[in-house]
């Protein structure tokens, strides 16, 4: 069965390592915070100037001076730090953040990503996405592999305006987990539960690399 948003987030959470500083984008990536393994120390960065995002507040704890990049009210984790937007992007650009997880509309076999603009639709802006994808040490994309009309979003070449080039290293979709290889191509690592390799082949427009038996994802 294809994964839902929570399933994708849960699978991505398995990529976290103890001591990681992580930036989570808006949408599915935000849900990854719900699946950080017990006892693992992960510090979440918010581009608007915070390291150490805590839980959502109780009604009494709500503080208009504490929000995340999605403008939601939040709390501070123990040991958190606050800073300016310039310092925040110095962390991002300077390679101090270990992992960036973000959503996408399209990803292609060269690791190019499109996630900010659809021609002839209202353009809202790229926010921090271009800075993040240009600089992060490791980028995982959480996305839907197939759109509502059945078209693959893992492409040979992105068709939408790009956010960044040759930057995505790993993609987790409702159907599978893929590494994007340095010389191009989606290498299939895992299948979603009860999804066949044939279905994945059918749902991938870009170059797909399949070697040996492909295991199913495991959720602990």
């Amino acid at each position: 069965m294809a994964l839902d948003k929570n399933g994708i987030a849960q699978r991505i959470a398995q990529e976290l390592k103890d001591g990681f500083y992580v930036n989570l984008g808006i949408g599915i990536p935000t849900l990854v915070a719900n699946y950080i393994p017990e006892g693992m120390n992960v510090v979440l960065q918010s581009e608007n100037g915070l390291l150490g995002i805590g839980t959502f507040p109780t009604e009494e704890e709500v503080d208009p001076d504490l929000i995340n990049a999605g403008k939601q009210t939040i709390t501070l984790q123990t040991g958190s730090a606050l800073f300016s937007s310039a310092d925040s992007f110095a962390m991002i650009r300077g390679g101090h953040i270990d992992l960036t997880i973000l959503g996408a509309m399209e990803v292609d076999e060269n690791g190019d990503i499109a996630n900010w603009k659809i021609p002839n639709k209202m353009v809202k802006g790229m926010g921090g996405a271009m800075d993040l994808v240009a600089s992060a040490k490791h980028i995982i994309v959480a996305m839907q592999q197939v759109d509502k009309s059945g078209n693959s979003k893992l492409l040979k070449k992105c068709s939408l305006p790009l956010t960044g080039v040759q930057c995505v290293k790993k993609v987790v979709t409702e159907l599978g987990v893929y590494d994007i290889l340095p010389d191009g191509g989606f290498k299939l690592l895992e299948r979603a539960p009860n999804i066949s390799v044939e279905e994945i082949i059918k749902s991938t427009e870009g170059k797909l690399i399949i070697e040996g038996e492909i295991p199913e994802m495991r959720f602990f």
Binding site: S46, E47, N48, G49, L50, T55, F56, P57, T58, E59, V62, D63, P64, D65, L66, I67, N68, G70, K71, Q72, T73, I74, L82, F83, S84, S85, A86, S88, F89, I92, R93, D112, M122, V123, K124, G125, M126, G127, G128, A129, M130, D131, A134, S135, P161, L162, T163, G164, V165, Q166
Partner: protein, 231 residues
Amino acid sequence: MINKVVENADVAVVDIFEGATLMLGGFGLCGIPENTIQALLRKGVKNLTCISNNAGVDDFGIGLMLKTKQVKKMISSYVGENKEFERQLLSGELEVELIPQGTLAERIRAGGAGIPAFFTPAGYGTEIANGKEVREFDGKMHLLESWLKADFSIVKAWKGDTTGNLIFRGTARNFNPMMATAGKITIAEVEELVPAGTLDPNQIHTAGVFVQRIFQGEKYEKRIEQRTTRG
């Protein structure tokens, strides 16, 4: 002791002129100069270019100045929460320049720090790169980006003193410290204005040298865009 205190927001904006370039602090509605925006509405000054990460919402923040058609151009990274904005953009009444958020923050910082330009990897290979000089450093491609400055920077801090020293609170800091450095005239509105010597010098985020005018805001609504609780 230099005294930067002005009586209120209306006095602070008295010489903001038609066609001026303004920087306005804030991320979403967090840390925005609410009182100065109200004064700009009362003053009615038009054709403003506003540099601000976002454009407010329909009935708060910069959104209020869009409604009164005081803004000619917005320079922002994300403007998604505003219907009037969308209407004016699609009808051609409003110009918009979208800049990656980190590049926006650094261009403002550069403007205040006397750095005319710098290279950043953000936007390489995208339409943001059009017309920009590209240079390779350590095998990676970068774009040349130039500084941003403003006729007036309008920032909001938590506490400030009569000499213009500022302390921010929580994520309301965001763009405010850099903008404070990049205005020919910087106007700071604060929740609490105290006499010089009251704030601990070790805790000052923005030194008073960057601030020309300071006042205590009359009231702060601090509207929340996405009230999210864990119940």
